[in-house]
């Protein structure tokens, strides 16, 4: 509570908007501009770019699931594409308490109760399942049940729901290896140090399809109780949340969100692990 008090000193105290979501009345960081945060590198299929020189991804391309969703939300709020400013925000610092240098952050951030205590989330824009990727010759490449994963050496990025997932659901006998980012985890898997990595399903699809040719999706986990959803992340007490939720609800109702999912996250039907 002392933390919340500290955070509220510097953000607008009104948590709900009076209902006026016109562009002029939105309390953005910079008037007339919408500042959106995401991490570097910006991974496909969430951020896609045709520009080969942009090795770290290009959120401003408008292509890729999250880039498209971000621009759709901006349009729904009344901003044009040129009004959108992108900011690099490391994943771990996005959901940490403190003042934010962005209006919202979109970076495959799952809504969790712990995080919701210190930041605000919009409604979910994608329901995410965890999946395991392994090399084709890995000992767990053909696992179909969770029990077969007990002896595996798994790894993932620090601070992610994947890391908590390994501990809570898979519970392997060897402690999971935790890396600074997914790239390091992929390197460890390719060198044979890990039997598999745990990532969300769309990332798993991109890794197996485009990044690591001799890898495969071992399977995906059925949604746990309560489900896991990606949400847009706001600083605590940010007044934009209400308006953004209205825009998201419109996008869901009109089918636009589903269309974006089908365009960028198509073909997701990996086998489910059995208990």
């Amino acid at each position: 509570m002392a933390l919340a008090g500290c955070a509220q000193e510097s953000t607008p105290t009104a948590a709900t908007n009076s209902g006026d979501c016109s562009k002029e009345s939105l309390a953005t960081l910079t008037t007339g501009k919408l500042t959106i945060g995401t991490d570097l590198p910006a991974y496909p299929p969430y951020f896609v770019t045709d520009d080969a020189s942009k090795e770290n991804g290009d959120p401003a391309s408008g292509k890729g699931f999250e880039s498209a969703v971000a621009y759709a939300v901006a349009t729904g709020l009344g901003f044009s594409n040129t009004d959108v400013v992108w900011k690099t925000v490391p994943f771990n610092s996005s959901y940490a308490p403190g003042t934010k240098a962005f209006d919202f952050d979109i970076n495959q951030i799952s809504i969790t109760p712990d995080r919701s205590k210190v930041v605000d989330f919009s409604d979910g824009y994608y329901t995410v399942n965890q999946a395991i990727v392994s090399l084709k010759d890995s000992p767990i490449a053909n696992a179909t049940t969770v029990a077969e994963l007990k002896d595996a050496n798994l790894g993932t990025q620090v601070g992610t729901t994947s890391a908590a997932f390994i501990e809570d659901v898979v519970k392997p006998t060897n402690k999971a290896q935790i890396f600074n980012d997914t790239n390091d985890a992929k390197s460890a898997m390719q060198s044979g140090r890990l039997d598999g990595i745990v990532v969300d399903l769309p990332t798993a699809y991109y890794v197996t399809a485009a990044e690591i040719p001799n890898s495969k999706i071992v399977g995906q986990f059925p949604a746990q109780a309560g489900g896991e959803e990606f949400g847009l992340l706001f600083g605590k007490g940010n007044s934009l949340v209400g308006c953004v939720n209205t825009v998201l609800a419109n996008m869901k109702a009109s089918g636009e969100l589903q269309k974006l999912q089908d365009t960028w996250l198509a073909g997701e039907s990996a086998p489910y692990f059995k208990q």
Partner: protein, 292 residues
């Protein structure tokens, strides 16, 4: 001839003689000094605590960094992870000393036939003092397993420890070289004129003095190594820094970081006091025996 004064040491021992009255006076003064020192320390601590606890942000800082429940909850996990750090530096330190000494000796070889060895040793020192330790850890820890060579171990802790040994070996080699250089040339000349060959000179005359001279900087590097074991976190194994990071990323309370820092300090303080003690003892010995 001399009266047997009570308390005087037997002749021939190397303890300096102190008159009993003078000793009693100096002990009394030492006790008074100690007492006033302790009183002053407590008064200082009290004033600091008073001022700090009255500052406006203190409650927040205490909640975020010094949360007792969070500390107690995460301490067992941190301790377990810290065992990995301890294991790493206990294995690394002897290897570093051996490697450093070997490289230092290699650089002091005089004969022209040994030029390739001197060049390799110099290159090794230059390269590994120039590259940041974390970069070496990345190169070895991710790069070499990626080659998938047969027979080469894949373990993260193995490559992390190797990277630390290579990196610190370069520093320690220079420390040893400075130690060898600090032994006066006359020692070598005297040893040679007594008929010892180069190897015996080094082994019995130069190196004992050289090593004794550089024990403080070596202990310094050892303490630094203890802290740098935390860098191995980037390769995946859960050592104390990574464990603190995992704890922090779910609760957003930074007390685990403070806990990890505390563990490191508790480890290095005995080492630093030991280093101080060695330095004091060396100075005392020098004063009595005369400089070497």
């Amino acid at each position: 001839m001399t009266t047997d004064v009570q308390g005087a040491p037997a002749p021939g021992t190397d303890i300096a003689y102190v008159d009993p009255t003078r000793r009693a006076l100096s002990q009394k003064r030492a006790r008074k000094n100690a007492l006033s020192g302790i009183l002053s320390l407590f008064a200082f601590l009290f004033i600091i605590c008073f001022i700090v606890s009255r500052t406006p942000g203190w409650a927040t800082v205490q909640e975020t960094f010094f949360n007792y429940e969070e500390f107690v909850k995460t301490l067992p996990g941190l301790l377990e992870a810290f065992l990995l750090n301890i294991r790493i530096f206990l294995i690394a330190e002897p290897l570093i000393l051996i490697l450093g000494l070997a490289v230092a000796l290699a650089r002091t070889l005089k004969s022209p036939i040994f030029l390739p060895i001197r060049v390799i040793a110099t290159l090794y020192v230059d390269i590994f003092r120039g590259i940041p330790t974390i970069l070496v850890i990345f190169l070895l820890g991710f790069g070499i397993p990626a080659l998938r060579l047969v027979g080469v171990p894949n373990d993260a802790v193995f490559w992390g420890t190797t990277a630390l040994v290579l990196s610190y070996g370069a520093y320690v080699a220079e420390v040893f070289r400075a130690g060898i250089g600090s032994v006066h040339g006359s020692q070598t000349m005297a040893a040679r004129s007594l008929g010892l060959n180069m190897w015996q000179t080094n082994r019995h005359v130069v190196l004992p003095q050289a090593i004794r001279n550089v024990i403080p900087p070596l202990l310094n590097d050892f303490i630094s190594l203890q802290k740098d074991t935390a860098l191995i976190a980037v390769l995946g194994p859960i050592e104390v820094l990574r464990q603190a990071q995992i704890d922090t990323s779910s609760s957003f309370n930074y007390t685990p970081y403070v806990g990890a820092a505390l563990l490191f300090i508790l480890l290095t303080i005995p080492m630093t006091r030991f280093a101080d003690w060695i330095q004091l003892r060396t100075m005392k010995q020098r004063r009595i025996a005369g400089t070497s």
